[in-house]
């Protein structure tokens, strides 16, 4: 077992899936000889050859449309959008076909594809490289949206996404691609989709988050513990479909909840979680649910991007508000 960063864990999962299943094919821009701009597919061309690791022409609609066609004909394409900002030409193919092929044909055809995309801010990238628009995809019936927050969860969830018989949008928080290393056993074992992971037990307040914000949230929880507040931290992981059961169970215990995400507030996954709590856990709440999120503005260029994103300080301040309310 070796300590690996998240991006290396993703490589390991891709390699393992390709060894296990001949129908898995990687496609995208620069995924071959270059190994991907973040090196997530590094070494895979050499290992599996150019029939399975395919550099495509620079056309995102093409990549998505080919994947729809291939997956409907029995292959498992794992395609890459180089950055989430370049995913939008793929959206028509995802909404109009990938998400509904099984439904439309009453199960005759299906689209077991995985669309990987690095997303989120914090690496000083140019315009369009830093947004978090997972909610756009969470709104589409028929696709899953999965976001890992650690090397081990990236490994296990990506394997599960590839094995899933329906389309999965797998969003990789690139700020934490190489943030820290963790022991990941390359044993081919996947982690369950459609469920949250409780990362820290606590009885005073529930902090719900996902992706790179797991880092700030855990830091905030450490600080809060020093202040005598025990926060339960939930990594949502699969943001669509949502595992509300785990969140509600926690909120029934703590009576308080703060939702933390990088994406803008309006119609966010956080809004859906808050609505779910209002519907099903209102009488367990001692205080209104609060959200700590990106502002409803355009993600600023990189000089100011960290001001846009929730910080440990903003999380603690929100928790203080919620704890003070009776």
């Amino acid at each position: 077992m070796a300590a690996v960063a998240m991006v290396e864990a993703i490589s390991l999962a891709l390699s393992r899936a390709m060894e296990h299943d001949d129908s898995v094919v990687l496609m995208g821009e620069d995924v071959g000889i270059n190994g991907g701009v973040f090196r997530a597919t590094s070494g895979l061309l050499e290992k599996f050859g150019d029939q399975r690791v395919i550099d495509t022409p620079l056309a995102e609609t093409m990549i998505a449309g080919l994947a729809v066609g291939m997956s409907a004909q029995g292959m498992k394409p794992v395609i890459e959008a180089q950055f989430m900002g370049f995913i939008y030409p793929m959206v028509e193919q995802i909404i109009c076909h990938a998400s509904r092929m099984r439904h439309r044909t009453r199960g005759r055809l299906s689209c077991p594809l995985v669309l990987r995309a690095p997303f989120g801010g914090g690496i000083h990238a140019p315009e369009h490289h830093s947004e978090s628009t997972e909610a756009l995809f969470a709104h589409i019936p028929g696709v899953r949206v999965v976001i890992p927050s650690s090397p081990a969860r990236a490994y296990g969830l990506l394997l599960a996404a590839i094995r899933e018989p329906d389309p999965v949008i797998f969003l990789e928080p690139k700020r934490i691609y190489r943030l820290n290393k963790e022991e990941v056993e390359d044993n081919g074992e996947d982690l369950p989709l459609d469920v949250c992971f409780v990362l820290r037990d606590g009885g005073d307040i529930t902090l719900v988050t996902w992706g790179s914000m797991v880092k700030e949230t855990l830091e905030a929880a450490d600080y809060l513990a020093e202040q005598g507040i025990n926060a339960e931290v939930i990594d949502v992981a699969t943001v669509s479909p949502l595992d509300m059961e785990t969140i509600i169970e926690s909120v029934e215990k703590t009576g308080r909840c703060v939702i933390i995400h990088e994406a803008a507030r309006m119609c966010s996954v956080g809004a859906e979680i808050a609505a779910g709590l209002a519907e099903k856990a209102l009488y367990s709440l001692h205080a209104p649910v609060k959200r700590v999120a990106g502002y409803d503005t355009i993600m600023p260029l990189h000089k100011m991007e960290m001001k846009y994103m929730p910080s440990v300080k903003r999380i603690i301040s929100a928790v203080d508000d919620v704890m003070e309310a009776s």
Binding site: V25, Q51, T56, P57, A59, T61, M62, A64, G65, L66, A67, V68, G69, M70, S71, A72, Q73, G74, M75, P77, P89, E92, Q93, C96, H97, R102, H103, R104, T105, R106, G107, R108, L109, S110, P141, G142, E164, P165, D166, D194, P241, L242, D243, M244, E245
Partner: protein, 357 residues
């Protein structure tokens, strides 16, 4: 003076003139293969009888909006009859003739256009794509299917169709690019029927042909008379054979005319002259082939009557079956979305059954 580093030409193929005569002696064997021509003629007529009934069902409130294939029969039947069962077809929303050749039943078509997804659960071929309504998106599905066939070393061909309007869309151009980059076993048919709802061909772009868009992507590209079944079928046979033998993709622009409204929800009299439509009826594909066969003594009024009776009988049977299809269960809204249904959806499903039953 600059040097010419590339130049191109587009060949145009027509074997059967609009008045039903062979235009030269240099014709493919199909031109005198009477059994095959008669079978193609029967399929074209069946398609038209089906089409007429589908429009009538819509007009009488027994089916939803429907895109008529009137006038496209040569293109549709040429493609459908040239393909093998194991090949893969990715249609738009109008290629009912091709689908009939492939084995999709008339009842399935009525069912889909009657507002029921079960119409897409084709009895055959199980791997064909169903109707793609967002313009040109199907071109990339066919390219993806072709890539799958190529990667697996299968001798199968993918065929897709797109309209003159659809040829303006990125998906079509990206499919050409993919076919070129990966040398795919793909046949891309542009059905140039002159109208994209109300926008005429001339307003799509100023290129002399639409076929030349294939040349820009590096593909062999030709234009044929899309009302001449001999030319259409010859072009399909040639392109499919080439693709199957590993010699790559082809673009075929077939020139025809949309004799109907765009769909039953459209009224083409708002934007085109009756005279243009009358002229188009003079060169339509079925009359042309019938004239040719009759002149050669290979068809007669008795056969025509028998055919019409048989075709009408088949369509009537399909309508009868369609009327017995009934409604789907409420749970069908939920049951086909995922192989593994998420818990939240299970809950909604239970609620829907309670609320709607």
């Amino acid at each position: 003076m600059p040097a010419t580093i590339a130049s191109f030409k587009i060949d145009y193929y027509q074997f059967l003139s609009p008045d039903g005569r062979l235009i030269s002696d240099d014709v493919p064997p199909l031109a005198t293969d009477w059994d095959t021509l008669r079978s193609l003629y029967r399929l074209m007529v069946s398609t038209r009888v089906f089409d007429k009934k589908a429009v009538a069902l819509q007009r009488t409130g027994k089916m939803g909006t429907y895109a008529s294939s009137l006038g496209h029969e040569a293109v549709h039947i040429a493609a459908g009859s040239a393909m093998r069962a194991e090949d893969c077809f990715a249609p738009t929303y109008r290629e009912h003739g091709t689908q009939l050749c492939r084995g999709v039943t008339m009842t399935e078509m009525f069912t889909y256009w009657g507002g029921d997804e079960r119409g897409c659960d084709f009895s055959g071929p199980r791997h064909d794509f169903s109707w793609a309504i967002p313009i040109a998106t199907q071109c990339l599905h066919a390219a993806g299917a072709a890539l799958a066939f190529k990667l697996r070393g299968e001798k199968r061909v993918a065929v897709t169709m797109v309209g003159d309007g659809g040829s303006s869309k990125g998906d079509f151009l990206e499919a050409i690019n993919a076919a070129s980059a990966f040398d795919l076993p793909l046949v891309l048919v542009i059905i140039n029927n002159q109208w994209a709802i109300s926008v005429p061909r001339a307003k799509q772009n100023s290129a002399t042909t639409l076929a030349q868009k294939g040349i820009a992507g590096g593909l062999p590209s030709i234009q044929v008379d899309g009302n001449d079944i001999i030319a259409c079928r010859w072009a399909m046979d040639t392109a499919i054979k080439q693709a199957r033998e590993g010699h790559g993709p082809t673009v075929i622009e077939m020139i025809t005319y949309r004799l109907s409204d765009h769909t039953t929800a459209d009224d083409a009299r708002r934007y085109r002259d009756d005279e243009e439509v009358e002229n188009a009826w003079r060169i339509e594909p079925i009359k042309r082939l019938r004239k040719y066969l009759k002149d050669q003594g290979e068809w007669n009024d008795k056969r025509e009557l028998e055919l019409l009776k048989k075709a009408s009988g088949e369509v009537d049977e399909a309508v009868k079956e369609y009327f017995t299809v009934g409604n789907q269960d409420i749970e069908s809204m939920f049951d086909y979305l995922y192989e593994n249904m998420p818990a939240e959806l299970e809950e909604q499903r239970a609620r829907a059954l309670e609320e709607l039953s």
